[in-house]
Amino acid sequence: MTVRVQEQDFDVGKELSELTKGNHAIGGLAVFVGLVRDHVGIQGGGGSEISAMTLEHYPAMTDKMLAKIEAEARERWPLEASLVIHRHGRLEPGDRIVMVAAASSHRQAAFEACEFLMDWLKTKAPFWKLEETDKGALWVDARDSDDTAAARWSKRDPDAAE
């Protein structure tokens, strides 16, 4: 697995070509790209315009956790290749935030591993979003639906917070 946390943007097509290059056992490649939206919904209605966001992170912890999640993904699915890129710093609407890719001989393993890695990033990886909205700069609240999505992968979870 290749993992990068970086400030600069990435080229999705180039990353995917490099990931699969020369490996003809790969039949399917599932990819997720997360983008900055210009509007955020609030539970129960309403919402705010977003002009930009800043991603703060805890680099030493990210590095340490990625080794674990890699081992877990490879234990669960027969992956030929995988990639996680997460940006930090200031981003504007339409900018790419994150990219996750998983390659396997069959599509189901690729899709599941890609969703698993995204769920893990959303609920465990130490990143925090500060949104610049029309109501001021606000730290984003964690979404219950992300915990629900992550919980489907396991009852025993070595990185559970509680």
């Binding site: 703060e56 030493a60 912890m61 959303k122 990886a125 925090w128 730290w139 917070a161 509680e162």
Partner: protein, 83 residues
């Protein structure tokens, strides 16, 4: 012991990191949070809602009962929102 603060825990406590030496009887994550709360109103405010606080000891998620020692790096932050 090195403490790190992220997101609104950094804003509320007014610091990103610091070195602290809690008394010897502070031996677990939960005891550390209680000791920190007593350091001043900004800490009492930041740590008031314990359910909203996550703790990592040496870059690994920790529970209130987990032990801590003088050479540990302890990070305090709210639930993560990346991805």
């Amino acid at each position: 012991m090195k403490l790190l603060y992220f997101s609104w825990l950094k804003t509320k406590t007014g610091r990103a990191e610091e070195d602290v030496t809690p008394p010897q009887e502070v031996a677990t994550v939960g005891e550390l949070l209680s000791w920190l709360e007593g350091r001043g109103p900004e800490f009492a405010d930041a740590l008031a809602d314990r359910a909203a606080i996550r703790v990592a000891v040496n870059q690994t998620y920790a529970k209130p009962g987990d032990p801590i020692g003088p050479n540990d790096e302890v990070a305090l932050f709210p639930p993560v929102t990346g991805g």
